[in-house]
Symmetry: C2
Subunit: 444 residues, 2 copies
C-alpha cells in the first residue's frame, strides 16, 4: 500500500475506503504502514482497523507506537486489546513502556493475569522464560481424539498454537500429540496411545539461543518450557525462535566487527548511540595497536639501515590479520551453531596448523617471487617469504584458539573476532618480521 | 544415547535392546548417532529402526551415509524409503548422490514422481523452487469444514504440513485456510467464507533468502510457491526456511571474513578445501596491501628524517580498518535484513559522516594527549590527531558506500566487508598521514 494514497484518503475522511484497505491488508504490513504516520493520524487509522485484527496489528508495532496508543486509549479500548494479546506479546510491550503506562496496563488486567505477567517479566532477558507464552493446549492422558478436538474447538482460539498439544498429569508433561495426529487418527483413540513420549523440552532459565537451536535441529513448531520443579509453565513458538535466531546472528556479526550491539535497527539508532556503541572497542584496539608501534621503534636501527623494510609492513600486517580472522570467524560460527566445542581445541589447532602451512607456502611463494622480480634482492625475498609463513601459522593458531578459550571462561566468543585478532597478530608479525630480517641481513 | 554402549549392544547382537533404544529416540538424534558408526554397523543399525521411522531418520542423514545405504538397499527397501520420503528431501538427497545411484533411484519411482523430481532438480540452487515440496493440502472453494476435515483425514498423512490448506480453482491459488480455523469453526462453513484472500506467496525463481525473510516478517508456517503462469506448484515449510536463514547467515559471515563459503561444517571440510577457500582472497588482499607498501616507499625521505613517524603506522592503519569495517558490517547486515536499500545511500552517508566526526574527535583527543604526554611533542600530537579524524571519516564513508554499490551492481555486499575495506582504508590512511606530517613538519 502506498503511504501517500493512504494519507490522502485519511485526510479526505474517506473512512470507508480506508477501512476496506485495512481489511485486506496483512497485520504486519498495516503496522509497517502505520509506523510512517504521525501520532494523530496513527490513532485515527488504528481505530479504523477491524476489532478482531487490531490486537494483531498492535502486537506488530514497535515500542514507541504502542506507548503512544496505550496513552490515548480509553479504558475500554485498552481492555479489549489486552484481552486479545498473547501473553508473550503483552510482556514484550511492557518491557518497552515507561513505568506510568505499565502501571496503567497492570491495573486493567485481571489479578490472575497480572501475576502471570509479573512472573514472565522477571525472567532474565536472555532466558527462554522471557520469550515464552503461557497459552497452550493441555490435554488429559485418557482424553479421546474427539474429546480433544471438542476441547480445542472450545478453547483453541485463545491459544498461540494448537498444532502441538501437551498431555499433562499433575502439571507434569508426559507426552506430546500433534494436531496432525488428532486430525488423521480415529475418534476414539486416547491421548495415551497417540502421544510421543520422547519429549524435547527446555527450562525457563535455558539460554534462548539454545532453545532456538533446538527448533532448527529438530524442525519443531513449538517447544515446551518447564520450571525448576519440572512442571510445564509455557511454550515457545517457532516464529519467536526465528526472531531469536535472526537477532542473535545480527548480534554476533556486530560484535565481530568490534561494536556493542544495538537494540534497534540502523536508522532508528541515534548518531550519538552509534558512536557510543563503537568508541569503546576502538579505544581498546587503538591501545593494543600502540603496542605494535612501540615495538616498531625498537627496530628503528634496522629500518634506518634498510628503509625498504618499512614497505612490507602493511602487507605482512594485513595478511596476518586476514588469516587470523578467517580462522576465528569459522570457529566463532562453529561454536554458535554448536558444531565446535572446547574439547575439540587440539583437533581444531592441528587442522588450522596444516591449513596455515598450505596457505603460508602458497602466499610465500607468490610474494617471494614478486619481491625477487621487482627488487632483484633474493635476501629480501627470503625474509618476506619466511616471515609470511611464520606469521600465517601464528595468526591461524591465535585465531582458532582465542574464541574457544573465551567460550570456556564464559565470555562471548564473538568478541575474539577479526579486530582483536588483527591487533594481536600485528604485534606478532612485526616481531617475527624484524627478527628474521635482523638475522638474514645481520642487522643491529 | 552414548555411542559406546550402543556399539556394544550392537556387537553383542542384542537386537531387541537396540530396537527399543531406537524406538524411544528422536529421528534427528538417531541420524546423528548413526553418523558415528562404521558402514557395516550403520547398515545393521538402520535395518533395526521401525519402518515408519526409517524414512524420517534417512532424510536427516548426510549425503555420504545416504549414498552408502542406497547402494546396499534391496529394491524393496529402496522403494519403501522412497515412498515415505517427502519430495523436497528426495531432491536434496539426489543432489548429493553420484550419478549411478541417482539412476538407480529414478528407476525405482513411478514415472509421474520421476517427472516431478526432474522439474525440482532443475531449479537453480538459490531459488525457492529448489527448497519447495509438492506435497500440500489443496481444497475446493465450496468444500465445507467437515468435508475438508474428511479430506485431510484421508490424504493428510502424506502431506508435509496440513496446518495451512490452499484453496485452489483451476490450479490457481484463491485463498488460504489454517487448520486452526478448520478445528475451531462450524462444520458446515465453506472454505469460501473461511479463507483469507490476502495471500503471501513467492515464485519458483524467487531467491530462497527472500522467501525465508517472508517467514520471519510474517511469522508463517508455510509459504505457497507459484510458477510463472501463477499456478500453485508447491510450498516451502518453516523448518526449511529456518535452515536457509542459518545457512545464509553463515555464508555471509564467511564471506565477510574473506573466504569462499564451504558447503559443509568445519570438521567435514578437508584441509585442502579449507586452504582453497581461503587463498584466493588472501592473494587479492595481499596485492592491494602491496600497493600501500609501495606508497610508503614514496615517503621514505619523511621517515628517514623522522623515524618516529613509522611507530604510528600500525595504530592508524588498524583504527582506520576497524572504523571502516564497523560501518560496512552494519550496512551489510542491514541490506541482508532488508532494512537498508540503495536509495538510502545519502541518508546512510550523512549518518556515518556525523558518527565518524564524533568518533574521530574522541579518538583524536585520546591519542593526541597520549602522544603529547609520552613524547612531549605537540607537533606530533597534532599530526596524529588530525590524521585520525580524516582517516576515520574516510574509512566510515568507504565502509558504508561500498556494500551499497556492490548490491546495486548485483554483487554480494558481504564481500565488501572488513578485509577488503581494511586494505583500501590502509592506503588512504597512509597517504593522509604522510601528507599531513609533511606539511606540519615541512618535510620533503
Amino acid at each position: 500500500m502506498d503511504k501517500d494514497i493512504f494519507m490522502e484518503l485519511l485526510q479526505a475522511r474517506e473512512y470507508k475506503a480506508v477501512r476496506s484497505i485495512l481489511n485486506v491488508m496483512n497485520s504486519v504490513d498495516i503496522a509497517s504502514l502505520l509506523s510512517k504516520l504521525k501520532d494523530k493520524e496513527l490513532a485515527l487509522a488504528f481505530r479504523l482497523i477491524a476489532k478482531e485484527k487490531a490486537a494483531d496489528v498492535f502486537s506488530e508495532m514497535d515500542g514507541s507506537m504502542q506507548a503512544y496508543l496505550v496513552e490515548i486509549f480509553t479504558e475500554m479500548e485498552l481492555r479489549e486489546i489486552l484481552d486479545a494479546l498473547y501473553m508473550d506479546d503483552t510482556v514484550d510491550m511492557l518491557e518497552e513502556l515507561p513505568a506510568n503506562l505499565v502501571t496503567r496496563i497492570l491495573s486493567n488486567v485481571s489479578p490472575e493475569k497480572r501475576d502471570k505477567i509479573n512472573i514472565l517479566l522477571n525472567y532474565p532477558e536472555d532466558s527462554t522464560g522471557s520469550i515464552m507464552t503461557t497459552e497452550y493446549v493441555g490435554l488429559a492422558r485418557y482424553a479421546t481424539v474427539s474429546q480433544a478436538m471438542a476441547h480445542i474447538k472450545k478453547t483453541g482460539i485463545h491459544k498461540e498454537t494448537i498444532y502441538t498439544c501437551y498431555i499433562l498429569e499433575a502439571r507434569r508433561l508426559i507426552g506430546i500429540v500433534s494436531a496432525k495426529d488428532l486430525m488423521t487418527m480415529d475418534d476414539d483413540m486416547t491421548m495415551e496411545r497417540l502421544m510421543e513420549t520422547e519429549i524435547i523440552s527446555v527450562h525457563t532459565h535455558t539460554d534462548k539461543e539454545e532453545a532456538a537451536r533446538l527448533f532448527s535441529r529438530y524442525g519443531l513448531l513449538a517447544l515446551p518450557v518447564l520450571d525448576d520443579g519440572e512442571r510445564m509453565v509455557g511454550i515457545v513458538t517457532v516464529d519467536d525462535a526465528l526472531d531469536v535466531m535472526v537477532d542473535e546472528a545480527t548480534e554476533d556479526i556486530t560484535k565481530m566487527a568490534a561494536m556493542n550491539p544495538s537494540e534497534k535497527p540502523y536508522f532508528e539508532t541515534s548518531v550519538f548511540q552509534h558512536a557510543r556503541n563503537r568508541i569503546p572497542w576502538l579505544l581498546v584496539l587503538m591501545l593494543s595497536a600502540t603496542l605494535t608501534g612501540t615495538i616498531i621503534t625498537k627496530y628503528e636501527a634496522a629500518f634506518e639501515t634498510l628503509p625498504l623494510l618499512v614497505a612490507f609492513i602493511p602487507m605482512l600486517m594485513d595478511t596476518g590479520g586476514n588469516c587470523g580472522s578467517q580462522s576465528s570467524t569459522l570457529v566463532i560460527r562453529g561454536i554458535a551453531l554448536d558444531e565446535i566445542h572446547f574439547q575439540d581445541i587440539f583437533r581444531v589447532m592441528f587442522k588450522e596448523f596444516r591449513i596455515s602451512l598450505l596457505i603460508g607456502i602458497v602466499l610465500a611463494a607468490a610474494n617471494g617471487l614478486r619481491v625477487y622480480v621487482m627488487y632483484g634482492q633474493s635476501d629480501m625475498a627470503l625474509v618476506i617469504a619466511l616471515s609470511l609463513v611464520v606469521t600465517i601459522v601464528i595468526a591461524k593458531l591465535i585465531g582458532c584458539v582465542l574464541p574457544l578459550l573465551a567460550k570456556q571462561v564464559q565470555l562471548d566468543p564473538a568478541i575474539m573476532a577479526s579486530p582483536l585478532i588483527t591487533t594481536l597478530v600485528d604485534t606478532c608479525s612485526i616481531i617475527v618480521y624484524f627478527n628474521i630480517a635482523s638475522r638474514i641481513f645481520h642487522l643491529g
